[in-house]
Symmetry: C2
Subunit: 186 residues, 2 copies
Amino acid sequence: MTRWTTDARSRLERAAVDLYLERGYAETTVAALAERAGLTERTYFRHFPDKREVLFANEETLRAALAAAVAEAPDGDVRSLVRAGLDEVARRLQPRHAELVRRGPIVAGHPDLQERELIKLASWTTTLRDAVVARGVDEATAALAAAVGIAVLDVAARRWLAGTPDADLVAGLHDALAGAGDLLGA
Amino acid sequence: MTRWTTDARSRLERAAVDLYLERGYAETTVAALAERAGLTERTYFRHFPDKREVLFANEETLRAALAAAVAEAPDGDVRSLVRAGLDEVARRLQPRHAELVRRGPIVAGHPDLQERELIKLASWTTTLRDAVVARGVDEATAALAAAVGIAVLDVAARRWLAGTPDADLVAGLHDALAGAGDLLGA
DNA sequence: CGCACCGATGTCAGCGACTGACATCAGGGT
DNA sequence: ACCCTGATGTCAGTCGCTGACATCGGTGCG
């Protein structure tokens, strides 16, 4: 029983997706967004550092899960470490198909938002690299494996988002990894 | 003999690097940058769409060269097409080691600039993919090969920038490609 | 029970990135 | 000579974002 509703943050997230879809991202003012959530512009900026971040709030959770999965993976081989991490992310993405499909067009339509998405991906890459290094792999190998792994995950995820909601992302990821192996190894 | 010096654009580019290094990116005002170049803030924005782009002006040239290299590559195999593109970029990057090392810390210190750099990389990926598709490769394979190829190039380039100016980026790229093949194909 | 403190929010003023509209002015072509 | 073009300057305004300070219900402590 607090004075303020405790879901300010999620109200802002919903208001953002709604308004960005209704009026477009560029045409939506942070003030308008906050008002839709029953808050002030200033309060918005206490929850999110800028106008874009509201669309990427949960990515941090995925990053942590990625690191944890690598840390707890049973085997010490580079390939299986990376795969453990990627699989975990894929598993967690799977139930969010609808949400991501809804958010997709917003991001696709605005370079600013694409940039933000790309830097999240890049942070996954460094996270994955560091987690693999922590398991005893040398830096150079880890950096290469992480970069390639995340790149493949990205391709698989895009394919998955373009398909039906019940398509299996984990399976798609494995296909893509195999495909990449064919391309590079032949 | 025009009324205005024709090198306004390059003056802005030099002023930007200088000031971003002297005072820092965030602390540098576009107005100050333009003044250093003997111009007005408004004029700056007629040459570059925003405060960051001045640091990435020539990337477009590289993108075009990447597309051209793939289009003119002799062999039709996916691997050699991608490799032709990556090699061309690496070759053109080689002489720019000093410049890139100088620009590196600026970009590294500011997420905004990293984002811009990442979206340039992403545009290389789609360019490469489209160029490979134009050579008759199916879309899915091309997308995967382009994503992995650019990711490997990125890793190789970072390694190269961390080393001595005379290190061979093309050779480093080939090493990285081989390394990625080992990782995925084993 | 009262009170002092805390934490989420509101208010206000201000900076800087970016844009649209209009003015200026040398050079080039007619 | 004259008009037109293109790069620039000037001005006003919007919006993202921030620091400083005020507000006020809840919480815990005496």
